[in-house]
Amino acid sequence: MSKTQLDQLDREIIDRLAIDARISNRALADMLGVTEGTIRARLKRLSAARLIRFTALTNLSRLGTMRIVFIRVHADLRRVRTVAEQIAKIEDVKCVIITTGRHNILAMGPFSDFDHGVETVIARIGKIDGVIGLETSITIQAIKYNVRTAKILSPQSNGSEEEEGEEES
C-alpha cells in the first residue's frame, strides 16, 4: 500500500534511534557495521523525505493544568479546506485534521484551565465564514500517547546534522 522505499538499514537506524535519539553517528555506524558517512547520508535522506524528525517533547502534565481540548467543527462542505486553513493559522491550535463525517474538521490543542484561551479560540473559530457548528470536548486523562509516530508535514532542515565531528577543530 505504502509507496515508501525503506530498506533494512533504514529500519535498523530508526530502531536504534528509537532507543536513544541522541546516540552519535559514529556509535550508530559501529553498531550497524557501516561508515559514519553512510549514517549521515541516510539520516539526511530520511529527514528530507519527511519520514523522520528529531525533536524534544515536553510533558504536558508537568505544565500545571494543561489539557488537550478537542474541537469538532461542522463546516460547509464546499468550504472545508478554507475553514481548516483559517483554523490552522490560530497559534494555540496545534493540530487540524479534515475528516469524513458530519463534523468534518477536528482541531486540537493544549489549553490551561485557568485562562480563557479555549473560549477565545472557540469564539474565533465560530466566526469563520463557512462554520455551521462546533462541539468541544476536554481531556480528563490521557491513557496512551505514542510519541514515536506522527504526521511529519515539513522536512527538518537541520535535523540530521550531528555536529560533533565538525566541532573538533
Partner: protein, 160 residues
C-alpha cells in the same frame, strides 16, 4: 489526579528552557554545540538533559511518520461507554497496537482515540478481532482522516 508530581515545571530554569528550545529545533544537536551556544560546558549540558529526562519533563526522540510503519489509514474515533467504567475500556483500547492515542474525555464522547491502520482490510480485522472483544462500547464513531493540515504536538502527555 493521575500521576504524582515529583517535580514541577517551575523547577526548570532559564538555561534548561534554552536547552529544550534548541533540542525542539534539532534533537540531534550535540552537547558540544549546545554548550557553545549557551556558554556552558558540554558536561553541564549533558547533565541537564539527563536530569530533565529523568524527571519526565523532557524526551528527545526520533519521530517516524505514519508512512514508516506502513499506515495509510488514520481514524479519529469517538467512543461512548455504557455499563462499564470508561477507564477500563480506555485501558483495553490502549493495549491495542493500532491505537496510537487514547484519552478519557468530558464532552460528546467518553473516549477519543486515534487509530492508525495499513488499509481497509486491516480495519475489518480491527473491528472484528480487536474491538469486538472489548465490552462496554455502546457507540463507536469513526471519522476517516482525509488530510492533516497541521500537526505540531511537541507538548504531549507522557504515558507508559
Amino acid at each position: 489526579m493521575s500521576t504524582t508530581r515529583t517535580s514541577r515545571y517551575e523547577d526548570v530554569d532559564d538555561l534548561d528552557r534554552q536547552i529544550i528550545a534548541i533540542l525542539k529545533e534539532n534533537g540531534r544537536a550535540s552537547n558540544q554545540k549546545i554548550a557553545k551556544t549557551l556558554g556552558l560546558s558540554p558536561a553541564a549540558v549533558g547533565a541537564r538533559v539527563r536530569r530533565l529526562e529523568k524527571a519526565r519533563m523532557l524526551r528527545v526522540v526520533v519521530v517516524a511518520d505514519f508512512e514508516v510503519i506502513g499506515c495509510d489509514l488514520l481514524l479519529a474515533v469517538g467512543i461512548r461507554v455504557e455499563r462499564r467504567d470508561p477507564r477500563s475500556v480506555a485501558r483495553d483500547l490502549a493495549a491495542l497496537p493500532q491505537v496510537f492515542s487514547c484519552s478519557l474525555m468530558a464532552g460528546t464522547y467518553n473516549i477519543e482515540a486515534l487509530v492508525a491502520l495499513p488499509d481497509v482490510d486491516a480495519l475489518k480485522d480491527f473491528m472484528e478481532n480487536s474491538l469486538a472483544h472489548i465490552s462496554g462500547i455502546s457507540e463507536f464513531s469513526a471519522e476517516v482522516v482525509v488530510d492533516l493540515l497541521k500537526y505540531e504536538f511537541d507538548v504531549v502527555p507522557f504515558t507508559r
